[in-house]
Symmetry: C2
Subunit: 298 residues, 2 copies
């Protein structure tokens, strides 16, 4: 008996949206229902591109690739229709917990599932940090990012007067500290020294060692590679020296999109409600029959 495929739509068509389409196409248990965009122009895709999910027929899950700030408004629109949602909401702490509570209420009321903050950090890194804590409950975990582009820092630089285009790289400086490496393309007549000073005084940069470099074309230094090194120097029982490390080198939009698509699958295996990734049983993220996965992978 052929399994019915999970019908997934992608909301948004930026770097992550484009990759999500590719990840869904490669998933053996999924079918791309279409793409939802504010302006429903089809950029040459062989799937429906629409302004409203209502035009796509049955949809099981919506992968929301919109910016974090828009998620609290967008997600309920889908959950209310009984469509599961996945996002990569990355505003840690209170906003994340508020989203979990709000979407949880909405999802339970409408029999749908929301999986939130399902990227690689927050997301799979959060899961690994918890596993590390469970394995070595005493100790310290360091999260070291990069080298790789920081979206938030790049946007902050672009907002500074005189900056035409920019790129901010996050460089790991050891044990959870980071340096910033900023490349700027200036508007005509802008003063580089003033721009550099404004960047270093910006709240995004003021606490970190920051180097600013002028380039004629930001495109030449822009790349989507990223990485992380999670280290826990911990202890368990009488063992004082349990050392746990996760090291990843990733193409950033592909990694984010793939975790979201795996979370979309998991959403179809959960009871109505809202979940962060550490609340989802890891086996639910993997394609295939759960007994078969466990038999071959435990």
């Amino acid at each position: 008996m052929a399994m019915e495929k999970i019908r997934v739509c992608v909301v948004g068509y930026g770097n992550v949206g484009k990759e999500a389409i590719e990840c869904i196409r490669q998933a053996p248990d999924m079918e791309l229902a279409g793409v939802v965009r504010r302006r429903p122009e089809n950029p040459g895709l062989d799937c429906p591109v629409v302004a409203s999910v209502d035009e796509l027929g049955k949809v099981d899950v919506a992968v929301l690739t919109a910016p974090s700030r828009q998620i609290p408004e967008i997600a309920p629109q889908y959950l209310k229709k009984g469509i599961n949602t996945v996002d990569s909401f990355d505003i840690h702490g209170d906003p994340l917990m508020a989203l979990r509570s709000d979407l949880g209420k909405c999802a339970k009321e409408h029999g749908s599932v929301a999986v939130i903050s399902a990227g690689w950090d927050p997301g799979t890194d959060s899961v690994i940090r918890m596993l590390f804590q469970a394995m070595a409950p005493r100790g310290i975990t360091y999260t070291n990012f990069g080298p790789g582009m920081s979206m938030g820092h790049t946007v902050a630089v672009k907002a500074i007067p005189g900056v035409k285009n920019a790129l901010s790289m996050t460089l790991p400086a050891g044990f959870g500290t980071h340096k910033r490496d900023v490349y700027v393309e200036l508007e005509e007549g802008a003063d580089f020294d003033k721009v550099a000073e404004a960047i270093k005084k910006d709240p995004y940069f003021v606490k970190d060692e920051t180097r600013v470099t002028k380039v004629s074309n930001v495109m030449e230094v822009e790349a989507m590679g990223h990485g992380v090194l999670l280290q826990r120097f911990g202890a368990a029982g009488t063992a004082e020296n349990q050392v746990l490390e996760l090291k990843m080198r990733l193409t950033n939009p592909s990694a984010t999109a793939q975790v979201m698509v795996a979370a979309a699958r998991a959403s179809t295996r959960m009871a109505p409600g809202c979940y962060t990734l550490p609340e989802v049983p890891p086996v639910a993220l993997v394609a295939g029959d759960i007994d078969e996965i466990l038999k071959h992978s435990v």
Copy 2:
């Protein structure tokens, strides 16, 4: 309001059992109910050491540190009393799936929970292999163990005539292959060359490059350190080069015991049934209020 502590007993008093006692004592949300041993002699512990769990009053979870082969017989005795169980059953494939099915039926019938194969491999490594697969669904994962002592291989060597004591180390040889480094203490009059030949012909060793060394005292080379390097060379979406690595250096019995104790905690947060570690939401393994953990660690 003080939370009621989870009352946990440890079944068995070997290397892992001793460490489990220590891990429970260090857990802020647990209380050691006592130790169950076949011969209930108290080796100087300041807790009850008994032959039957019935002598320990209320017990929520039993951490079963008995050998894998005894688990299918021991676990139901506890599950039938409504006591959750945790084991580190390590016979992969069909035996593991049979255990999951049998304990699942028993646990559901009696309103209890079994978490099986909850060590570091199988166990947390299984979880990480699944996360890696979810993040990069195309690709290959290599599990590289060691350097560290292999219990199974050590027992196999000890069974060879002429061997008084032995230690078999697992050495990583790259990309999922391993070498064996065997240290033997001979019985008087035993022929080293014959013993070495018998070891190399043993089914445990016949496929791997094996070095045998004679020592006067195995105790001098025995240590409980172990390690693993999990590597996935994978791809997601259009990104062909997603590289994921987990590297751990562990004191083996402490790591096993600590994962079991974390699983004991998780068992109190699950619906009746039997679960492998990838079926358990990772947050359930960590001590504390789940909302608080998520707020600070996602």
